[in-house]
């Protein structure tokens, strides 16, 4: 399973298992995230890759780390650098420290996602040669 398929599967999994297995419809999730209803479907089928800001919002909505969307072999468990980095910031307000941790994860996700987008449907052959 490649990275984008993994992201798609994770989104679907989180949505279906939302609220202790009660689940959430794609429309309801779309409403929460203020995106078009078919966007969720396209994320879940891997047709579109959600942007990093979308992933951050999804992570916040489901109350999970942004690293949830990344396969473990891509360094989800490798948080040594992150811990070392944040050790210096212990005197921050806990809420700010949490945001700094999320920002550090955001950076990591960005570095992994760089250049991993899929061509958007409907644009095939439209590139100038």
């Amino acid at each position: 399973m490649d990275l984008l398929d993994h992201v798609a599967a994770q989104i679907k999994d989180l949505r279906i298992n939302y609220n202790s297995g009660e689940g959430l419809s794609q429309e309801a999730l779309a409403k929460q995230l203020k995106v078009a209803p078919n966007t969720i479907s396209r994320w879940e089928t891997g047709m579109y890759r959600p942007g990093l800001a979308d992933l951050e919002r999804l992570a916040r909505f489901f109350g999970v780390s942004m690293m949830t969307f990344l396969p473990s072999e891509m360094g989800v468990g490798d948080n040594e650098n992150l811990v070392a980095l944040l050790r210096t910031a212990r005197q921050l307000h806990p809420a700010d420290l949490e945001e700094l941790r999320k920002y550090a994860e955001f950076r990591k996700a960005r570095s992994i996602f760089k250049g991993k987008s899929r061509p958007k449907p409907g644009r095939k052959g439209s590139r100038h040669k």
């Binding site: 980095l85 210096t88 910031a89 005197q91 307000h93 809420a95 945001e99 955001f106 990591k108 570095s111």
Partner: protein, 194 residues
Amino acid sequence: MNVQDYYEDLKRLARQVRAKYGLVTPRVLPSDLRRIYFSNGIEIDIWPYRLRNLRGAFICDKLGTTVMLAGGLPQDPLVFTMAHELKHFFRDRDLGLSYCDQSNMNRTLEIGAEVFASELLFPDRDFVMHMERMGVRRNQCLPNTLVQLKHWTRTTLSYAGLAIKAERLRFAPPGSLTKVKTWRKLEAAYGLRV
């Protein structure tokens, strides 16, 4: 190097940066600083989520050099924070992470970043020159003087920054300006927008 020498060195660096990037007035805009960031390969992330005291953070590691800035900062605090984080880029890159909030303002590195930012936005020499032009002598600078100065120069250094500078350069007795909290009212009284 003692602490005073360290701060003087940072001021020198700030003046060099101003000269290199053609900053010639005390009105330094976010676009000016973005240009400096861009030319040094520093990525800016505006963080749209709520932060308590944190205004900015600088991270330099194997993933790159990035500065996180609190979203929604007004222009003056934004410019100051960007200038502050720029000091960490020039001098503290090996630390990995630096952040700017209210809790760590006593550390020498952080005070140094404030000194650097203040000099980058409004060099002491220019400040003294403007004060002399306005006929302000030692210990005679009043809150209204700073309102007038900010209005004339359109500087993006905040009132808090101007007050610290005026006291440090002995244009005002210690505490006479830095304790003022009513800058907006003074602006209104001066006939400026509130």
